[in-house]
């Protein structure tokens, strides 16, 4: 009997002690963790100051990607309507975020610094297709709050 009361008291003691200790979890999504400045999350495609896309559709990111997550289709821009800063640009640019292992090799391979991995990491969707980020989506990257 006494043994039992002792045990309960000890257990409750641990519980109450833990109540006042600092917590390992955070109240997501109201609160968010601070990440390392070079955290690698979802990709973006950057533009230069004039608003021209930096990506020239060279496909080097596609070639280097160990997960084969990227697909690039290049095309020639009309002379009077440049899309990127040269006459070659990517018409299609897709990243399959399910395949991607966020290694950052694409960013490293890009000769124009067009594809970059942002800290944004809130990746979830109800179907697989929605996890393929197309060019439109990558050109207007979401900001991590």
């Amino acid at each position: 009997m006494l043994e039992g009361v002792k045990a309960i008291g000890k257990a409750m003691g641990t519980t109450f002690k833990a109540l006042t200790e600092p917590r390992d979890t955070i109240a997501y999504p109201e609160k968010r963790r601070e990440y390392a400045p070079r955290f690698r999350g979802k990709h973006m495609l950057a533009r230069d100051e004039d608003g021209h896309e930096l990506c020239v559709g060279c496909g080097l990111c596609e070639a280097v990607c160990p997960a084969q997550a990227i697909r690039v289709v290049a095309a020639e821009a009309p002379t009077d309507k440049p899309v990127s800063w040269t006459n070659r640009y990517s018409v299609d640019y897709e990243v399959d975020l399910i395949r991607c292992i966020f290694c950052g090799m694409c960013e490293e391979a890009c000769p124009t610094n067009a594809v970059r991995l942002t800290p944004f990491n809130e990746l979830a969707a109800f179907n697989r297709l929605d996890m393929i980020a197309d060019k439109e989506e990558l050109l207007s990257p979401p900001v991590r709050r």
């Binding site: 020239v56 559709g57 060279c58 496909g59 080097l60 596609e62 070639a63 697909r71 690039v72 290049a74 095309a75 020639e76 040269t86 006459n87 070659r88 000769p111 124009t112």
Partner: protein, 778 residues
């Protein structure tokens, strides 16, 4: 033979071999830019530096011939340093724009820089800027900044093809490659410079920015556009054919292509490509159409028996497909009526068929009826190659117009249309009248004597006769138009002691393969089919990859034949002409969509791999055959696959015995009214082939050709004009231009020109020019 050591390995090679080729034989790669075996050494780029013991300095491996006891080192610090220096110079003014360059990933400048170059340049001065992205014709773009001035392109066009259309302009670092007088290149062989350029200076416009070496697939194939069947490599990306390149076969073929073969690959994607099944003018589902056709077949067999069903096969099918069609006809339908749709009447016995190696050894080459430059372009290049090796090569053109051209000069005999066989029989009789074969050949010639446009003396005819009999290695290129030529060729073979080889330049491209697959290809077969159809003996026709109206020499007869058949089913890539004559049109799959074997004009079988899926509802023929057999509740097992290759004979079809020589009849000369023209048909790859959007700007707007005299009489100026023509069978209008090789009174028109059907009037017909209003009122 010479013995030498390369990188500590001994090799024995023939005298005169260059060090670079000797190394290649050992499997040692020496970098090269300017050197190409077909073009010979030049020594312009200096990248091929190697070290030869006892020589004070590095030498270029491509200009150094092997010597007895030579010791060569292709690697080592001295060599690498030399190459590094060369690359540094090459890169001084290079724009370094690999990310936007289509050659990136398959570029020798990238590869060698990666292997031997230094990591950074030392040159800080501003780079010299030159022309970028400038089109040098409809298909090719030049970027002068990327050029390493290896001169391969310039030498190929000028020395190899003999059409000087590219040159080096400027001096020193300002030197650029440019077209002659800044005019677009119009050579039939222009596209080869893309393959030849080791860097990204000459690039294909239709392939521009389409793919990268790591996201494309390459498959071995052969060109389907003409009977040469050049070996190609087909590039596809994401199920689309996006490029065709030449595929050299070491020791056998350089891998040159003509522009039709290189750029005409988009016929599968043009707007007219059939993607759906049509029944009585309405789109239906594939299942519906197969079911209906199956029931037609069932009904016809029940009512009229197997012999009332016929099959007509066109040029696009593979040998395997032809075999399956024949088996289906034999085993399932039970008919022997399988014919090949053809435009010319001639047949060449296999025993006479030569190979391209004969061209390499020839001392006399005779063109019969057709200029190979337009009809079988790469054969012209092979003849030119021979001419470069042997400037004493005799070339003789015999036809209705001057068949020779300046790239391979020769002697032209310009005759009345359709008299080539009679002329040759006559010529041979002049020099060997006593010979029984010649006597047999000339039995029916009577008092025939040729008339020449442009003077030819009896003397010259005799010389020709002697050349034909006495030359050491005779090759004849025959257009297949006059069936009596077969006997002349047989007689030549019978009389001559040395090699006599004939290369048939006529289509359909794979006819020899059909023959091997068991389908009789002779014209009589086709004629018999047309006759029976007109008589109402055929109730169901399967026209597979064929277009009788387009191919058959007499359009009205073809129309009558099709109209007389109860049900006509067409399987093909496109709608046949006058589709209202067909009851069902179903989409077939073709080149690059089915695996198969094609036989070329040598009788050589070559495999072409499928790279893409057939688009839309189109399916290979075998699928349809299977489902029709199913509809008849008969089993038709396609496995095991038939193997066309005979493993004792290699890739050449084994030769058989030759037929007897028949006599050549005296040609009838139609009466010519004043101002009348005679039509001469010819097969031309550009004008007559399959539709292509890429080729459209190059396909001549004026496919017909007439003499200057006729043109000025008829008021046709530069660049050409439209002419109405009336013959016995109707009227057509043709776009014509002046060609100085055409004699007065002749109008040359390619087969298969959409809108100007030659077979409406007939090959060889006498026609008169009429006003265009009259034609439109017809």
């Amino acid at each position: 033979m010479i013995r030498l050591t390369i990188d500590d390995r001994e090799i024995t090679v023939p005298e005169g071999t260059m060090v670079v080729d000797a190394a290649q034989e050992l499997g040692i790669d020496v970098p090269i830019y300017c050197y190409h075996q077909a073009l010979g050494p030049l020594g312009a780029c200096r990248i091929c530096l190697v070290q030869v013991e006892k020589m004070p300095k590095l030498v270029t491996a491509c200009t150094t011939a092997v010597q007895e006891g030579m010791v060569v080192h292709t690697r080592g610090s001295a060599v690498d340093k030399g190459r590094q220096g060369v690359l540094e110079f090459l890169l001084i003014n290079h724009p370094l724009d690999c990310p936007v360059c289509d050659k990136g990933g398959e570029c020798f400048l990238q590869d060698y820089t990666f292997q031997y170059g230094s990591a950074a340049g030392r040159y800080d001065e501003p780079k010299i800027h030159k022309l970028k992205d400038a089109a040098i014709n409809e298909f090719i773009i030049i970027d002068q900044e990327r050029c390493v001035l290896c001169q391969r392109c310039v030498r190929f066009m000028g020395e190899y093809v003999g059409e000087e259309q590219l040159l080096l302009e400027g001096r020193g670092v300002e030197t650029v490659v440019s077209t002659v007088s800044h005019q677009p290149m119009d050579s039939q062989f222009s596209g080869n410079v893309i393959d030849l350029c080791p860097v990204g200076a000459l690039l294909s416009i239709p392939y521009r920015y389409k793919a990268r070496p790591w996201n494309l697939e390459r498959a071995e194939s052969v060109c389907p556009h003409c009977p040469v069947a050049c070996t190609t490599s087909v590039t596809s990306r994401e199920g689309h054919v996006i490029r065709v390149e030449g595929r050299p076969i070491p020791g056998h073929d350089w891998g040159w292509l003509c522009d039709r073969g290189r750029f005409g690959y988009d016929f599968g994607y043009v707007e007219d490509r059939l993607l759906n099944a049509w029944l009585d003018g309405e789109i239906t589902s594939a299942a519906e159409s197969t079911r209906t056709i199956g029931s037609w077949l069932n009904d016809t067999l029940e009512q009229h028996g197997g012999d009332s069903v016929a099959f007509l096969v066109g040029g696009q099918q593979t040998m395997e497909e032809a075999y399956q069609i024949r088996r289906f006809a034999d085993e399932v339908v039970g008919t022997s009526k399988v014919a090949v749709s053809r435009s010319v009447k001639g047949y060449l016995p296999l025993g006479l068929n030569g190979t391209f190696e004969d061209l390499d050894r020839a001392d006399t080459i005779v063109y019969l009826g057709q200029d190979p430059y337009d009809a079988v372009p790469v054969v012209h290049l092979k003849v030119r190659d021979r001419y470069r090796d042997n400037p004493g090569l005799k070339v003789i053109g015999i036809g209705a117009y001057d068949l020779t051209r300046s790239t391979v000069p020769g002697d032209a005999f310009v005759l009345e249309p359709g008299e080539e066989a009679a002329f040759l029989a006559y010529t041979l009789a002049k020099v060997a009248a006593s010979n029984p074969i010649i006597a047999r050949l000339g039995e029916e010639l009577g008092d025939f004597s040729p008339t020449f446009k442009g003077a030819k003396s009896e003397q010259e005819v005799e010389t020709l006769g002697r050349q034909l009999l006495e030359s050491e290695h005779l090759v004849l290129l025959w257009d297949g138009k006059d069936p009596h030529m077969e006997s002349v060729l047989l007689a030549l073979r019978g009389l001559r002691e040395d090699v006599t080889a004939v290369l048939p330049t006529f289509g359909p491209a794979n006819w020899r393969g059909f023959e091997r697959a068991g389908i009789a290809v002779d014209y009589d077969r086709l004629e018999a089919f047309v006759e029976e159809a007109i008589q109402g003996k055929i109730h169901l026709l399967f026209s597979i990859g064929a277009d009788l109206l387009r191919d058959y020499p007499d359009r009205e007869r073809a129309k009558a034949a099709l109209a007389a058949i109860d049900r006509v089913v067409s399987v093909g890539l496109f709608f046949p002409e006058q589709r209202e004559l067909y009851h069902a049109v179903i989409p077939g799959a073709g080149w690059s969509e089915v695996d198969g074997t094609y036989t070329n004009m040598e009788g050589r079988m070559q495999v072409a791999k499928a790279t893409v899926q057939p688009p839309g509802q189109s399916r290979p023929v075998r699928t349809y055959l299977g489902s029709w057999a199913h509809a008849l509740k008969k089993s038709f097992v396609l496995e095991p696959e038939w193997d066309p290759f005979d493993h004792n004979a290699g890739d050449l079809i084994a030769k058989d015995a030759l037929p007897e020589v028949q006599s050549v009849p005296k040609p009838a000369r139609p009466a010519m009214k004043d101002g009348a023209l005679r039509l001469v048909g010819t097969a031309l790859v550009m004008e007559g082939g399959m539709p292509s959007e890429i080729l459209q700007p190059r396909i001549p707007k004026y496919p017909g050709r007439i003499s200057l005299a006729d043109a000025s009489r008829l008021g046709i100026g530069e660049p050409g004009g439209e002419l109405g023509l009336r013959g016995q069978q109707g009227m057509i209008s043709v776009m014509v231009a002046v060609d100085e090789r055409i004699p007065q009174g002749v109008l040359v028109l390619p087969y298969g020109v959409v809108g100007s059907p030659l077979n409406q009037l007939g090959d060889g017909a006498v026609v008169e020019a009429v006003s265009l209003e009259e034609v439109s009122l017809r």
